[in-house]
Amino acid sequence: MKFGHTLMVATAMIAVAGCSKKPPAELPPAPQETPTPEAPPPAEMGPVPGSQAHFIANVASDRVFFDTDEYNIDAADQATLQSQAAYLKQYPNVRVTIEGHADERGTREYNLALGERRANAAKNYLASLGIDPSRISTISYGKERPEALGSDEASWAKNRRAVTVTVQ
């Protein structure tokens, strides 16, 4: 009786579909000027107050950005957070979570702590503007949820952020 040791080599075939780019037999009609429809009345059609869409529509931005390995709230961040504080004063029942993030150029564990530090800095600034801190929770995703996917300074700058998310 014998048993040949069999190496199963799985070969991955990557099929590259060729893009056929033949011109169509008949060209589609040229675009025509479409009449602008009557703008619908804005009442009751927009996002619900307290929803993230409503929040974003009514604040300067839902997020603030940070320099490498930093967590200070600069003048631009202050303006953003002031608009968020105004919203939260207008809608006193809305609660938020601030999500802190880091770029990929840091170790996983440190970046989780750094993201928490950033979220907390944004929370503290909102609290300094009179928002009850019990309405604000924080969470860090470290480098786990990048927004920009490149490995360049512009992408990393977009990822070093604290995002305010309304809690429904």
């Binding site: 989780l112 702590a113 530090r117």
Partner: protein
Amino acid sequence: MKYLALPLTAIASAALAQAPAVAPPLVGQPSGLSVDVTAEAGDDLRIAVPKLATDDVRETVAGTTDALGRQIADVIAADLRGSGLFRPLGPSGIPTVSFAEANAPNFAIWPQTGAEALVSGFVRAGGDGNLTVGCYLYDVNLKSELKRTGFVVAPRDWRRAAHKCADMIYSRLSGESPFFDSRIAYIAETGPKDHRVKRLAIMDSDGANHRFLTNGQNLVLTPRFSPDYKSIVYVSYQQRRPHVFVYDVGTGRQRLVLSTPNQVIAPRFSPDGRTLLFSMSQGGNTDIYKMPAAGGTPVRLTNSPGIDVGGSFSPDGSRIVFESDRSGKQQLYVMNADGSNQQRISFGGGSYATPEWSPRGDLIAYTRLGSFSIGVMSPSGGGERILTHGWQDESPTWSPNGRVIQFFRSTPGRSGTSSVWQVDLTGRNLRKIPTPVDGSDPTWGPLLP
């Protein structure tokens, strides 16, 4: 797992009692054969690994004893080759060894193969359904036995017998402690960079017996084995909060051990398995805590106004190495296990993260920031050596014998991935560990009990 390993000597004599009735040569004769784990350039020892013989071809739940003899030899050869210290010959293309020759090799034929050493052995199926695997190591030129060992093992655990045989050979010829018979836990990764699916997974030290433990629904990070391999502690995000969970490898059940409104980071077991070390953030300040592994009240060990994270116990449990940015940049610190006497040890310029104390106690591995390389230094901070140079290498973990380091390597860009890699303490023998999907956060457990 049911692995019936009798104490080593008892197993060896039991195994040999069943072996062919040939007077065994003296054990442990002096030999010039050795391999040097610290050697700069490889002059790999040529070792013949023929198929293990069987006296009687019997069916087992893992295949026939004849087939297992071949498979065990394959695993032994792969382990030895992977160590970077040996050049195995066989099992194909070299003479076969009969059951009668397993402990009485025909020394006349082996020098012609170029082999300096020979490992032979046998597989027998016992009446109780278990296998007995015998393993003998010979010096071909001196025509002498160097060591023998034997194991009783359930057929489905045949790979462990192979790893234990390879461990015996590695230890006898290198003078180092064994490490092949061990396991790795890591985070298996799939999906795009901004929606990475992460699953807890485990595998043997050679990548075999791979198993996914979680389904990817929740983000899971930073696993660590308990010293007895029964549990894995890790962080899991559930209901948009990070929690510390312990996964029971035997039952597959997950137990919540710490749930707080605070950020929890990087849990790990103490060497005796009784204590969990972790970090927790409050108000932007992250400190290191410990708590009973069974659950209980956390006790704070650090209180600097900065990020203190990533503690790792010394093998005797008396001290902890961790990273802190209290000086402005991430640096390595050592403290007593009760938090007293915190001393910075990294002074090489730049910054350092993710320290891991070697199971031998003699070195600390770390991530060197800036270059994102893996390096080692002594626990007092001297002798810094950089071992790897990737785009981003991170999070070293030690082999059970403190001679090999695994880590994960990331590649840049939108389609960047992570994979598990391994390097010897010498900086040699760098290689990627095969995993079914991408991988990160490897953690190497101790030698299997």
